[in-house]
């Protein structure tokens, strides 16, 4: 039971991204003395990146179970657009609309499951295809136009009420991470997900109903992406038919970045949250400095590659478990 010396490096790795985040904050505080380190600034950042955080959380569920879900961006857009169409155009009460949207998310998850699990089509293919399908549907139902004027109660629930100065939106993402953390780490279901992702045959030989677990993961992912769409509509107060897809690559980046921290080598909800807000901090700081746009892209890409590389160096460049 001897602890190897590398364990110190491992311990460090757990908190490395948190430290880098702290350093980033310190740097920007130094560069923007008055306005950066400021509760108002952070509280807004926490709220406005909440939909992105929820989306990244949605992705890590099927990733843990060994499937890719590329369609979360399209699902977000479809949900937000559906809210716009039903609530604004069809005047349906917002409560009903939310129920319908979440059920729609479930439907999307089941649709994916049918092809991925029953027909054994690779998840990359199915979710790539459904992204395209959903984009078409969004354009159809919205007439390709932005729909404003979403029910005020949704807006209030997302960004109107605040706790410690932070709009509720953030706490929804936090709550999702908390629940996922409990499931991933303290419920048999979480271990099942992990076993299914890391060794499908072994899981099946050991009596885990692999298919059920995968269906569950795909459905949860789609439902969470729908919830992200609801939050998105709530934060913005409107629904636009195109921008959701832009969240896809950042969400993946956050998921992989998050897998370098807290529980390195595993997709984990707290790591994902840290990654989302670390990137958000960088982008916010750079924007406040008035630095040209291209720098933020370089920051995003560079942070992802560097973080994962350093994590790999920590573990002696052995083959990675993620991805």
């Amino acid at each position: 039971m001897t602890k190897t010396p590398t364990n110190y490096a491992r311990q460090f790795e757990r908190v490395a991204l948190l430290l880098v985040w702290a350093l980033t904050i310190a740097l920007f505080t130094f560069l923007i003395p008055n306005n950066f380190l400021n509760w108002g600034n952070f509280s807004i950042m926490f709220a406005s990146y909440a939909p992105a955080a929820l989306l990244a959380l949605a992705i890590i569920i099927p990733l843990t179970a060994g499937d890719y879900d590329l369609s979360v961006g399209a699902t977000l857009t479809l949900s937000a657009s559906t809210i716009g169409v039903l609530n604004v155009w069809q005047q349906m009460p917002i409560g009903w609309v939310l129920v319908i949207v979440l059920l729609m998310g479930l439907g999307i998850g089941l649709f994916h499951s049918l092809f991925i699990i029953y027909f054994r089509v690779p998840s990359l293919v199915v979710t790539l295809g459904s992204t395209s399908l959903m984009s078409g549907v969004v354009q159809l139902i919205t007439n390709s136009s932005t729909i404003g004027g979403i029910d005020n109660s949704l807006i209030m629930a997302a960004v109107g009420y605040r706790l410690f100065g932070i709009p509720y939106a953030f706490y929804y993402a936090l709550a999702a991470a908390l629940v996922m953390w409990y499931i991933f780490d303290f419920m048999p279901l979480g271990r099942k997900l992990l076993f299914v992702g890391r060794g499908r045959e072994v899981a099946r030989l050991n009596g885990i109903s692999v298919n059920k677990v995968r269906v569950g993961a795909l459905c949860m992912s789609a439902v969470l992406a729908s919830a992200a769409g609801i939050l998105y509509a709530g934060v913005l107060g409107s629904a636009d038919p195109y921008s959701g897809l832009n969240y896809l690559l950042p969400a993946f980046a956050a998921a992989f970045l998050g897998a370098t921290t807290i529980q390195p080598g595993r997709f984990n909800p707290w790591g994902t949250i840290v990654a989302v807000y670390f990137l958000a901090t960088g982008i916010t700081g750079l924007s406040m400095l008035g630095i040209p746009l291209w720098v933020t892209n370089v920051f995003n890409g560079g942070a992802l590659i560097l973080a994962v590389t350093i994590s790999q160096i920590t573990r002696g460049r052995e083959a990675s478990d993620i991805g």
Binding site: I155, N246, G290
Partner: protein, 347 residues
């Protein structure tokens, strides 16, 4: 007959926009320096990646500096969540003015704008609403731009360019709000001035899909309907995909291309004979007019309802004035500069 009368009206209308723009004062002179003293404005573009908007904001900074207005750009990648952060920043740092420039529908980030308004920040838009639009209640004043007017110019130009026999493919992006009045007026004007003109196909492509869809759609349209002799991409950045489509279909020159925005590379297309007409606006003029209009509102003066920046038609006869290669601000004259300086009392 009716057709030739319409054509005459169209020709007259076009001539109006071919003349060098003249400066018309948007209001009474006022002491801009006194008004601007200590005031700050945050300009949030639709996306900092758009060189047109970036150009306007850069020039607004210069124009504002003349009278002491601090203008700052909120850099963003076109994501609404970033716009939200900008609005919150302005609220927190007690800016006087939030300027939503060209493309951010206030309705998209209404909750945050309402909070800003309550905190005493005036929210204004520029180069966004058409005069026919109803302004969002959180907005204090809007410097509108005549998208409908653009539609009428495009329609008349199509009529004139084909001598009243235009068969048109029009490329639009319906999710961008200005599209609606532009296209509506285009159709109305066409019906009024050109009874023989027809819109053969209307191609709606979302902005993010321009690169992947416009070219094929235009190619297909001109193949399926060989009678098409005019293509109108309503925003001129679309034309980078329209021009190759016509080239491939062997219709360059045969099918006329008219568009709107005055982006330099499209003006170059005209110089090269690949496109025929582009309606432009002077960025610097827009910048001055925006600073002028927003200052008036901020100081409680009556704010003009419109930007009042005239449209100017570039075609092969005058495109050389825009420079080779073309520039954003060249060719419009600079009558406005002296005009605004005089209005602001800073000669």
């Amino acid at each position: 007959d009716e057709a030739s009368e319409g054509l005459a009206r169209a020709t007259a209308n076009i001539e109006k926009y071919k003349a060098k723009p003249e400066f018309v004062a948007p209001g009474e002179p006022f002491d801009a320096k006194a008004c601007a003293a200590g005031k700050k404005m945050l300009s949030i573009p639709n996306s900092s990646g758009n060189p047109f908007l970036k150009g306007i904001i850069d020039r607004m900074k210069v124009a504002g500096a003349l009278v002491g207005l601090e203008v700052r750009e909120w850099e963003n990648q076109g994501q609404p969540s970033q716009w939200v952060q900008g609005v919150e920043l302005a609220t927190r740092e007690k800016y006087d003015i939030i300027d939503l420039i060209s493309g951010i529908d206030p309705g998209t980030i209404e909750p945050q704008l309402r909070a800003a308004k309550e905190a005493g920040v005036k929210v204004m838009t520029s180069h966004f609403y058409d005069p026919s639009f109803e302004q969002n209640p959180v907005v204090s004043s809007s410097l509108t731009i005549g998208f409908g007017e653009v539609g009428t110019i495009l329609a008349d130009w199509a009529a004139v360019a084909t001598e009243g026999k235009a068969n048109i493919a029009i490329v639009v992006s319906n999710e961008v709000p200005p599209t609606i009045p532009l296209v509506a007026n285009f159709k109305k004007q066409l019906a009024a001035n050109c009874p023989d003109c027809k819109i053969i196909q209307e191609i709606n492509v979302g902005v993010t899909e321009w690169g992947t869809k416009i070219q094929t759609a235009v190619q297909s349209a001109v193949q399926a309907n060989p009678e098409i002799n005019v293509v109108i991409p309503i925003y001129d950045s679309m034309s980078q995909f329209v021009i190759p489509a016509l080239r491939l279909a062997g219709k360059t020159g045969e099918v006329k291309v008219g568009t709107f925005n005055g982006t330099p590379f499209v003006l170059d297309y005209i110089a090269q004979g690949l496109a025929d007409m582009n309606i432009g606006e002077s960025l610097d003029w827009i910048a001055y007019a925006t600073v002028d209009g927003h200052l008036r509102d901020a100081c409680g003066l009556e704010s003009p309802k419109a930007l009042n920046v005239p449209f100017y038609i570039f075609d092969k006869t005058n495109v050389a004035e825009a420079g080779t290669p073309a520039q954003f601000d060249t060719g419009y004259g600079d009558a406005y500069k002296a005009g605004f300086h005089k209005l602001w009392g800073i000669e």
